[in-house]
Symmetry: D3
């Protein structure tokens, strides 16, 4: 505890970027709520661009918006 789940589109996120997300999210919970990093979990889920929609538009079909 806490548990932070980050869902993003699957677009070549690097291992190093994931490492930075893990460090940053953990630090955020330490800074704001004084949580214990040892029990703070971060789980990143990468979603295919066919499987994400905003404004009724499938992300893979859209050129008009940046997620």
């Amino acid at each position: 505890m806490p548990y932070i789940n980050i869902k993003i589109t699957d677009e070549n996120v690097t291992k190093e970027q994931k490492r930075q997300l893990i460090i940053g999210a953990t630090q955020l919970l330490v800074d704001v709520l004084d949580k214990n990093p040892k029990t703070t979990h971060v789980v990143i889920e990468e979603i295919s661009i066919d499987n994400w929609g905003v404004d009724s538009k499938q992300y893979s079909n859209s050129e008009k918006f940046k997620l």
Copy 2:
């Protein structure tokens, strides 16, 4: 907002079917709750048939039920 997460078994769902799920789910939130489609997100997650169970049975081991 809203955020709609649809979990289904991974069985050759086509890009066009996913598009229809995104459109339909967004429209549902517009129709019932007058939500703004521009901030309505739909995320579809496809789960391996080994990883889904109902009634204690792994879906990949079952011939008796249709999900």
Copy 3:
């Protein structure tokens, strides 16, 4: 299966509106993917307006956008 999770802000959604969301989401999975309604679950989660943010803004602090 399928499992549909709908997260919305907690703003006096009525029991009848929830019923319509359940019916509509189930029908969507039947129509698009020929899923079995008997095993289709819909779970609606209402989130306090202090607990939802878009564009770095807490929804309860914002007058500028409609979710």
Copy 4:
């Protein structure tokens, strides 16, 4: 997109602390992945201390660990 879900125990988290979580999580996705804040959603869920367990121990029954 992205969608960030933060689950924490329900222990008098203030509206201001939630605001800081929303700002910090959004900024993290901007900094690391250059995501668009306008479509970045943060949802905070507060879980009763009876309902969270680590190491087989219910948090409300435990004095030995800090979450």
Copy 5:
């Protein structure tokens, strides 16, 4: 890790029952996958019976099925 999320309807589940769910779910991950209980988290979420639907029926409106 692992992270186990249990969603049930909100129907007077006692603190002791929740404790048993936490113990049982943790033990399951130890037994089957030799996971470390110290990093195994269990989160129980109780959902209003108006907010859960199966087979297009709102649970609070149904007398025909037992969840």
Copy 6:
């Protein structure tokens, strides 16, 4: 209902181990809460070891802890 979601790292979990997780999680809900196994769903999600962090450390970069 109930719905049990188990997230674990993706480390060669076998089909048989998944079957045991499904059976055990279903039985747990039957034993503790007298739930109906026919409507009890178990979904297992395997997360890449680059995508899971505890204590600010990416699991794939760590030799110090066992999840």
